[in-house]
């Protein structure tokens, strides 16, 4: 059925067992993003190190499985990476989500985040998937400022 392409096992796993959840010290910037149409929300902290290294991405929030799993996957993909690498992933993820299901995902760039490809076919849920990723982008900009 259709829903099964949306609720990939990997998404459900991240929802049930979120990685890196919880707000941690130290951090350079903290942002709070909400999705007013459904009330999903995320608070995100970013700690950057030397050479543009992303030392920690910590978060807390509430919302549907898509929004919460997206935050968990984001944590895995960004922590330990560099700002420029991680922003390239954010850009590719955004392109995939806004592609209305017509965009072929670059699995080499996206890694586990490719599991969200099915979400792009559900315009009402795209914002859920993007919530944490937009928050991350915002937090990185503020950290570097």
């Amino acid at each position: 059925m259709i829903a099964e392409s949306l609720y990939q096992e990997l998404i459900l796993e991240h929802y049930k067992h979120p990685q890196g959840r919880g707000l941690r010290e130290p951090y350079d910037a903290e942002v709070h993003h909400v999705n007013p149409t459904c009330g999903d929300e995320v608070t995100m902290r970013v700690k950057l190190g030397d050479g543009g290294k992303v030392e920690d991405v910590s978060y807390d929030g509430q919302g549907c499985s898509i929004s919460q799993a997206a935050a968990s996957v984001l944590h895995e993909l960004t922590t330990g990476s560099t700002v420029s690498q991680s922003l390239a992933v954010v850009d590719e993820f955004t392109r995939l989500m806004q592609g209305r299901g017509q965009v072929e995902a670059d699995e080499d760039v996206l890694g586990d985040a490719v599991a969200f490809a099915g979400v792009a076919k559900y315009p009402a849920r795209v914002k859920c998937a993007l919530l944490a990723w937009m928050a991350y982008k915002d937090a990185v900009v503020r950290s570097s400022a």
């Binding site: 259709i2 829903a3 049930k16 999903d40 919302g63």
Partner: protein, 420 residues
Amino acid sequence: MTHSMFDVERIRKDFPILSRELPGDRPLVYLDSGNSSQKPSLVINTMRDHLEQHYSNVGRALHVLGSESTEAYEGARDKVAAFVGAPDRDEVIFTKNATEAINLVAYAFGNPTGTDERFRLGPGDEILVSEMEHHSNIVPWQLLAQRTGATLRWFPVTDEGRLDLSGLDELLNERTKIVSIVHQSNVLGTVNPVAEVLARARQTGALMMLDASQSVPHRAVDVAALGVDFVAFTGHKMVGPSGIGVLWGRRELLEAMPPFLGGGEMIEAVWMDRSTYAPVPHKFEAGTPPIVEAIGLGAAVDYLTGIGMADVMQHEHDLTVYGLQALGEVPGLRIIGPETAEERGGTLSFTIPGIHPHDVGQILDDRFGVAVRVGHHCARPLHLRFGIPATTRASFYLYNTTDEIDALVRGLHHVQKVFG
């Protein structure tokens, strides 16, 4: 009992959309009528016929089409007036929706162009609503309070989802100019005790308004018997089209109120520096109105009258009893609202531990063709009151069946399996 005559399968045939299939050959299980109802052929055909054979502007064209359109439009007003027991058909104002009807009344308060004492509003005066209101019966009053310096207050809601009237005498006092509450909650299903609040309002001299958007479609509502001052409701929730709503108000109050929107057809005479206004209802119907929508609402009223509102209510009551029982068997499910069907309509909102309503709604739709609403249903303060961000809501209407409730419950069991 006329109830035995109620044949839901026959009624379903009146609504063409209920026989369509969703992609993947799934039947449609429409449990979202509290959001917007489906339309019977009578409404669809009446609107089509008007557009094909009679359409013109109303109230101002002297030709045949103009008079046929005017007659149909004003005829719809007569039907609506009779449907809700309005003592005077001119007390029925056509608006865009219930939201506009409430804004229209709110705009009359503290308005410098009005002179009537009952609508004077300023610092020290109070506006009273409740915690279970739809945003459309909160925000217009917040805006009014901001414009005038008046204070907005509200009745709390009990854990059971009833209006908490323990503080009635203090909350509704000599400073209260208007109390506006929902007749039947769009989340809890609760039917509020209008008479008790009204009795107090009459003691203190406050005016009283009812948001009847969820009651007029589902039960016989008689505005004269209710005895309040204003009632708002909307066409699209009562098998009529969207784009048409109704404000009923006591004629004497409507006459004392300043106009809301200015423009064509709401005037008597216009000079460059001033105007005089048409009598009600046209004083509040500036511009070309939603003509075909009003006529469609008239047909909706004909349809519901033909079925009989007592039977509609009984059928929905039976569904509510069945639904509360059936949902009660879903592990962990928590009903937000009264757990019995007394003084309660067929709107069942609930939460399931560990599963967000958006995920519930998505799987119900994708796998089972069950359409419910998820989110805060434009009643965010009520959800905050219960400490939850959102609920899943199944809302019933005259065309729903117990089989559809069974489909909902099967779907919920599957949702729990996916997220278990």
